[in-house]
């Protein structure tokens, strides 16, 4: 991870809701963000579809599936209260909060997950936020993931949240 990162931009994967700002001015033809060739984009019907397991696999890497660890992930949804499917972005926030607890337990900095909520016309604001996020990721200390314990499934549903959530 460190070797690839040296000198290069941090590699980030973005999960973008197709109802939020993912117009042609934001996403280039090779599925990366305008001005950020290292931020790769995966389109989702709603930010509520983003699976915490995917975010975790992207940050942590998954040897079995051949996924290399990225330096950060980000999700983009519509503004709170304005989700096209009513609740997708609220659910996304809840799930990422639980995932952050799990990541903290594994000594991975949950700051590596970025959440952005911008409407369909706010592409410029979104890109500005991404710029700040990339800057933050670049300055983060290297994370040292704890070794995987046994054959634990990648994401357990509600275990971590019980202890730290409420």
């Amino acid at each position: 991870m460190s070797g690839e990162k040296a000198g290069g931009e941090p590699r980030i994967i973005g999960f973008l809701c197709e109802w939020a700002s993912d117009g042609p001015d934001v996403v280039t033809r090779d599925m990366s963000l305008t001005g950020f060739p290292n931020v790769k984009v995966i389109r989702m019907p709603c930010s509520g579809m983003v699976k915490p397991a995917w975010l975790q696999a992207a940050i942590q890497g998954d040897a079995k599936k051949g996924i290399e660890p990225a330096d950060g992930v980000l999700t983009l949804g519509c503004p709170m209260g304005d989700c096209h499917f009513n609740e997708g972005n609220f659910l996304c926030v809840e799930r990422i909060a639980r995932l952050s607890t799990r990541l903290r337990n594994r000594k991975i900095n949950p700051e590596r997950i970025g959440q952005f909520y911008h409407g369909a016309t706010e592409g410029a604001a979104f890109l500005a936020d991404v710029g700040r996020f990339v800057e933050k990721i670049r300055n983060l200390p290297e994370s040292t993931p704890a070794p995987e314990k046994g054959a634990r499934p990648a994401a357990r549903p509600a275990q971590a949240e019980g202890s730290a959530g409420r």
Partner: protein, 380 residues
């Protein structure tokens, strides 16, 4: 195409306005995210005030006007109740129309939302009928004029089907002219019509798992307080009674509630038939709005992978459209429940996919395997 450009344009305005408002007040209080809830709030405000007015109302042409005047002048808080009932009705119509426009221009009316849209159109019609018939009940000169014009408009239906207009006007007036039945008819229209609102509200909500029925407390207080302030500042006007032939002959102008009674000045300027036909046309346009654009549906319905499903209910809980149900699974050794998807309710949004920790539900066009491939490809 022109319509499509207009819709896009207005959508941009709406989002820009939301953004502006979100900077002024906390996002969760933005009243434009709760237009339907605010409409429902005014509807609930209308019920107790309406019952209060009903206690004092006498539905007969001789006594109706006197009973309303007694209510306004003698009964404690009577005038205030009457004003709140009137302005809450106006507010309900305003917010219902805003709700309709916002959902139209933000593309929230097609596909899996056709039932809410259609029931909403019926609700709007019922609100209009309730509001217009409310103005008939006072039985002043304005009520008489409204009754005449409505009868004229109904008689125009004779042009389509001979006899239909006459029959409708007979039902409306309870005879071929105003008689002692008439005001009871109007009261029935004013109460039975809105009673149907409950049924169509159920239809409006039935597809949603957690409908936003109430606005947040801040918006609730603001809305109710606004109606109270307007009711205190602008008391309901008093017009001469309809029973007084001299007053009817001499009163030529009177205030018109532009929200509910916009049709009547139009009828005087154009013709009752044109307004009736225009309203019918508008209704037809609204009713078929979800079906003008060919719909891409039933192509990406969430699909349960039966062997992975543990019956944990997480997808059922998170689905915003109630499209997932849990069924018994007697044949499985460990798991007692299995998720199934109602394809006619599914919005193809993938929220269930995000909820499932077991890769047991996926969208066929964007399966877990495909997303993992994309992650892999992006990091390669």
């Amino acid at each position: 195409m022109l319509l499509g450009r207009l819709i896009d344009r207005v959508h941009v305005w709406i989002v820009t306005f939301d953004k502006f408002l979100n900077r002024l007040i906390p996002q969760e209080f933005n009243p434009f995210y709760y237009l339907g809830g605010i409409t429902n709030l005014f509807w609930v405000l209308l019920i107790p005030t309406g019952v209060f007015l009903w206690f004092y109302y006498t539905p007969s042409p001789e006594d109706a006007y006197a009973s309303v005047q007694f209510l306004s002048n003698e009964v404690p808080y009577g005038a205030a109740m009457r004003a709140i009932h009137r302005y809450a009705g106006d507010a309900m119509l305003i917010f219902a129309v805003l709700h309709l426009l916002r959902n139209y221009f933000t593309d929230r009316y097609r596909r899996f939302r056709d039932l809410p849209w259609l029931s909403g159109a019926v609700l709007l019609l019922l609100v209009m009928i309730a509001g217009m018939s409310g103005y008939l009940l006072v039985w002043d000169v304005r009520s008489l004029r409204i009754a005449e014009l409505t009868t004229d408009a109904l008689l125009q239906f004779n042009a389509f089907i001979p006899g239909l207009g006459t029959a409708l006007a007979g039902v409306f007036l309870g005879g071929d002219q105003v008689n002692r039945e008439t005001l009871a008819r109007f009261l029935g229209l004013h109460i039975a019509g809105p009673a149907l609102i409950f049924f169509f509200l159920w239809m409006h909500y039935v597809r949603l798992h957690r409908p936003k029925i109430w606005p947040p407390a801040f918006v609730t207080l603001l809305a109710i307080g606004g109606v109270f302030v307007v009711s205190g500042l602008v008391p309901v006007e008093t017009l001469p009674p309809a029973n007084d032939p001299v007053a009817v002959a001499t009163t030529t102008t009177y205030p018109v509630d532009l929200f509910f009674l916009w049709g009547y000045p139009l009828m005087s300027w154009i013709s009752p038939g044109a307004v009736a036909a225009g309203t019918l046309l508008l209704l037809v346009v609204i009713f078929f709005a979800p079906y003008y654009v060919p719909q891409k549906r039933y192509i990406n319905i969430a699909t349960v992978v039966d062997e992975n499903c543990t019956g944990c209910r997480l997808c059922e809980i998170d689905c915003p459209f109630d499209a997932i149900a849990m069924v018994d699974r007697p044949d499985h050794p460990r798991y007692k429940l299995l998720a199934i998807v109602y394809d006619n309710k599914c919005a193809e949004c993938g929220i269930c996919v995000g909820a499932c920790p077991f890769a047991a539900i996926e969208l066929p066009l964007l399966s877990d395997r495909k997303v993992e491939e994309e992650i892999k490809g992006a990091l390669a």
